[in-house]
Subunit: 342 residues, 2 copies
């Protein structure tokens, strides 16, 4: 169906060796011959067979994202898609393929081993790390390049990661609210067995502590980040004897729920109650304009995908280039959802 190297060589009266070298930029090829080969390749729409190439070179030119689907926690969320898209851009640019492998929770470790044993990929991108995530040990022991989007805790072994500064970000947001006079600040967090959520909680607690405010368990929640979760959290907390005057939310969607709760109670966001949310800068959850609707800690998850992929490719090229790490700071963009404590 497609032209092969051999056919191309035959049509030129050359050996496959020479054609291969001509196309791959080896120096020992006559300039005129190279030109001739390149032109012919162009005309014939020649494309080297990926499989054959990787068999010969031993590099598969592919990166896998392993996606466990479980009943307990849904990894297929809005952030997931944008991260993938960002990473995909980097892979494409570098001539790498992206393999998405959906697997069950129970088979996850075996899936990683399989992909390597079959020579299907050169490295892994690890998403949604938990606190003390076992994948770090697993992949380290396999000796395969990998990058974690996020971090994990309580792990002695060094590893490569790209994360946003969740702790600092939420500490700062908390301080921001405190500086506005708020003392009763609620945290509407994601599931805290996930590392990012645990760090946000820590930042929140630090912020409170730095102002001498003791944490109140009634003002801290964790759950899957949905709109109804935000709504429920808000309405329930506003019924407390001493309700919060400000909320810290882990996602735009949760913030939508918070806002709805407020309106239902006849309260105005930014005046009666303040809200700060984390904003992953997703195109279909916009929060821009002259004055953004929400005051937010913003960081593009798509950009994170791009960069994490670049790190991984670098690691694949030179596994010795040591654990690479990158900590992205978030931007605290002030919008209309915050104001002085009433």
């Amino acid at each position: 169906m497609s032209v092969t190297l051999k056919q191309l060589a035959a049509s030129l009266g050359l050996s496959p060796t020479t054609v291969s070298r001509a196309l791959n930029g080896f120096p020992e090829v006559n300039a005129e011959t190279r030109k001739r080969v390149q032109d012919a390749a162009e005309r014939a729409q020649y494309r080297p067979n990926t499989r054959a190439k990787s068999l010969a070179t031993g590099r598969s030119m592919a990166i896998a994202h392993v996606i466990p689907v479980s009943t307990s926690h849904e990894i297929v969320n809005p952030v997931f898609a944008d991260f993938i898209a960002g990473a995909g851009e980097s892979y494409s640019r570098a001539g790498y393929e992206m393999l998405l492998r959906v697997t069950s929770d129970a088979e996850e470790a075996q899936t990683y081993r399989d992909l390597i044993a079959r020579g299907a990929v050169d490295g892994f991108m690890v998403q949604a790390p938990k606190i003390s995530d076992p994948r770090v040990d697993l992949l380290s022991e396999m000796g395969v390049p990998f990058v974690i989007h996020g971090r994990t805790s309580d792990i002695a072994r060094p590893y490569s990661w790209l994360d946003i500064n969740n702790q600092r970000s939420f500490r700062r947001a908390t301080r921001f609210l405190i500086d506005l006079g708020h003392r009763r600040i609620a945290l509407i967090n994601g599931l805290e067995h996930l590392d990012f959520a645990a760090r946000r909680r820590r930042g929140y607690l630090e912020g409170l502590e730095s102002a001498g405010i003791g944490p109140d368990p009634d003002l801290m929640r964790q759950a899957e980040m949905t709109e109804p979760y935000g709504y429920r959290s808000l309405t329930e907390m506003m019924r407390l004897r001493s309700p919060p005057t400000a909320f810290l939310s882990s996602s735009m969607i949760v913030a939508y729920g918070l806002r709805r709760g407020l309106t239902d109670l006849g309260l105005r966001m930014g005046r009666d109650v303040s809200v700060i949310t984390h904003d992953d800068d997703l195109s279909y959850l916009p929060n821009d304009g002259d004055v953004p609707v929400f005051t937010a800690t913003r960081s593009s998850v798509r950009e994170a995908g791009r960069r994490a992929a670049q790190m991984l490719l670098q690691l694949v090229k030179d596994p010795q280039c040591g654990p690479l790490t990158e900590l992205m700071e978030t931007a605290l963009t002030v919008g209309a959802s915050t104001g002085p404590a009433p």
Copy 2:
């Protein structure tokens, strides 16, 4: 690093041929020998090299999803992720890999050609088809198996697709509102150069027409489906001299915006103004409970992914099995967001 067939054969004192046949279930292998080989393969954690295998068989055991990233329209939306996840489940189960290839709008056609010419994949899943989508002709002429998630119009050539009955769904939703006494019904649609949106519009118009209601351009909008878009549409339309009493929304997120607009105006959804939305049944945009918040035309996009992938795999196995098509009906689930016209 990993065991090869040759090594396994040597360790057993057998030829690679026999080992290969033993593992692949050929009948001409002695039962005892087969057992011995299988045990050894198990013990050595033998996994056939994907690349070598597909080079030898000519089948790459991979399906590609090509994702164009453009400035004009964002394909990386919530629906996209869940569809991918569903399809991935089917691929995994069948031993196929899923390749995600991010490409620019301009290079899209070339990307399809490339992947085939390089022997990287056996077929394509096509997402987010436009009206009269050029990819049908492109892929048909390439003679490669593909399935479209959705449909496209004005194309004579038959092709394989899996779609939900958008037209019927929106006609029914419109009729539902009309039966409740509504006459001024607004359509807050997605971008109508996308086929699904065009069909929804058609269904909406049919519904109106069947009741003798003429369409009103002031009550029809299309745009990227975001929350602010829903909000803006609602507030603007409610300012019309004769505002709508009901809204038809193309996505949960848009419906969130509609609801917010209503509350801001002091109107109650389901009493003062009715809302029906399409619901793709995404886990992080839940709309369930005894009485769902929104009356919705519901259809799991994840399930669509599963089925579309199965269709594609069938098509890959037997390209002659003709264009396969599947039209999934949506479920009209009645929630709290609709009521008799005031």
